[in-house]
């Protein structure tokens, strides 16, 4: 150890002058969680988050998804769960701030409402994505398309009525 101690007097120090010199995180680093443009506001990430850091709030006609970096444990579960890569962990790790309120990332989506009972169905983008994914499955047909602006409970009532009529007609 003695020789190395003497020799390292003349070597460049191993330490980096961060924060004066940048010390970037490698690619694939699980840093600041941020919503991307592909986010449709479906709320799957909020359901799965172990630390319950992602909250979904419906205000008036917009749905607000907010990830609180104070709670987030940067585990990447949301990123793995999101079917449309709507949320991702960037390589930013410098989140120090004096104001606790600024430590979050938010995204807003326009909601659509049910004609039957006026309740919230989901965000418009999410409905488009659903139709897109079931379009090539061939389920969409002309009269079916009129129903999708009903919320799930109204839809159930609607189909129940349809079936009971068909049965009463049939008997």
């Amino acid at each position: 150890m003695e020789i190395e101690a003497f020799l390292s007097l003349f070597k460049k120090p191993f330490t980096v002058k961060y924060p004066f010199e940048p010390s970037p995180a490698p690619e694939g680093f699980r840093g600041r969680t941020e919503f991307t443009d592909d986010c449709v506001g479906c709320g799957a990430c909020a359901a799965v988050c172990p630390a319950e850091a992602i909250t979904v709030r419906d205000e008036g006609d917009t749905r607000v998804l907010k990830v609180d970096h104070g709670l987030c444990i940067f585990c990447g579960t949301c990123q793995d769960t999101c079917p449309w890569e709507g949320i991702e962990l960037t390589e930013k790790f410098e989140m120090a701030t004096l104001d606790k309120e600024t430590v979050y990332d938010e995204v807003e989506h326009e909601l659509i409402f049910c004609e039957g009972c006026g309740g919230v169905i989901t965000t418009r983008k999410h409905m488009e994505k659903i139709q897109e994914s079931i379009k090539d499955v061939g389920l969409i047909d002309k009269d079916r398309a009129t129903i999708e602006n009903l919320c799930t409970s109204c839809k159930r009532r609607h189909f129940a009525k349809e079936i009971s009529e068909a049965m009463s007609l049939g008997s």
Partner: protein, 314 residues
């Protein structure tokens, strides 16, 4: 309105004092080997210690004047006095600093000197070591007490070989004053090859004297949280650490004067080189336990110093 009279007043009084009494003792006490020079050198030694240690550990390390910044910062912090601590809690650091500052005044580089000042040096250095122990005891915390008792046991351990080697040098130079010793070395060549054993004994005691590894047992921060320093803060801690830093400089230069003296500028250079050697020893050795240090000092170093004393006396 700026009092214009002041500069005139100062100039006039300086002239009158100048011829009234000899100014030289003021200079030597306050400036050259005294307060100003020693404190600058102490801060430099401490700064170098941290910088060289860092470089040897592949780190960048703080700037050279960091100890000066620390001193100023500590002065601005408030100093908490524990309830159970005695009156000596405040006085211990001050006496330690005062006793350590006396020694450089006797240095042969233009300082005062009188017949038996080597004895004063031995006594005064012990006062500062004891004050460290007193500070530990008076702080009222068990860690301080353990630190204090360790300091005293270590004091006994290294006191014997230290005194013997100093006496050997004094007998060799047949004078008990630093200037006399320096003069003898200027005439007859450096003492370290004439009294090799005493020199080895003295050099190996220095780490224990100033609290560097492998013998910094009193301030073992991992075991007893810094020993005597545990309850100190604010200006009291500033004075204590400054006293310690001055001790670094004083003990190293004492070694240079006793064994490696040729002239005053060579004194400075050898001081730095010796200091580098001790930093190097510090960073490559672990801290030994009290009983191991006791054995090391009493058996090995004691005998070495004795051999040289006998050799000189005969």
């Amino acid at each position: 309105m700026f009092p214009y009279r002041w500069p005139v007043l100062i100039r006039v009084s300086a002239v009158r004092i100048g011829d009234l009494m000899d100014v030289q003792p003021f200079i030597s006490v306050l400036i050259v080997p005294g307060l100003l020079f020693t404190s600058v050198m102490a801060f430099l030694y401490a700064g170098m210690y941290r910088k060289v240690r860092a470089r040897m550990q592949n780190r960048r390390g703080p700037p050279f004047v960091q100890p000066f910044y620390d001193f100023i910062k500590l002065l601005s912090k408030d100093s908490i006095k524990p309830e159970k601590s005695g009156m000596l809690f405040t006085w211990a650091p001050i006496i330690a600093l005062a006793s350590v500052l006396i020694v450089p005044i006797l240095f042969p580089i233009g300082g005062l000197s009188f017949a038996g000042d080597l004895i004063v040096v031995i006594y005064v250095l012990n006062v500062s070591a004891i004050m460290l122990a007193v500070g530990g005891f008076s702080s009222g915390s068990p860690f301080g007490a353990v630190g204090g008792s360790r300091e005293v046991t270590q004091l006994f351990a290294y006191e014997l070989p230290l005194a013997i080697s100093m006496v050997a040098v004094a007998v060799k130079a047949s004078s008990f004053s630093l200037v006399g010793i320096a003069g003898a070395q200027e005439a007859g060549g450096m003492f370290f090859y004439q009294l090799p054993f005493a020199c080895i004994a003295f050099l190996s005691i220095i780490p224990a004297k100033i609290g560097l590894q492998p013998f910094d047992i009193p301030e073992a921060e991992q075991e007893i949280l810094g020993g005597p320093f545990v309850e100190y803060s604010g200006y009291r801690l500033a004075i204590f650490t400054f006293a310690n830093q001055v001790k670094y400089f004083v003990v190293i230069s004492l070694a240079v004067i006793l064994f490696f003296w040729r002239n005053w500028w060579q004194f400075l250079i050898t001081g730095f080189l010796l200091w580098l050697l001790f930093i190097f020893v510090k960073i490559i050795s672990a801290r030994v336990k009290t009983d191991q240090s006791f054995v090391f000092f009493w058996q090995y170093m004691g005998i070495l110093a004795l051999v040289d004393l006998v050799r000189v006396v005969i």
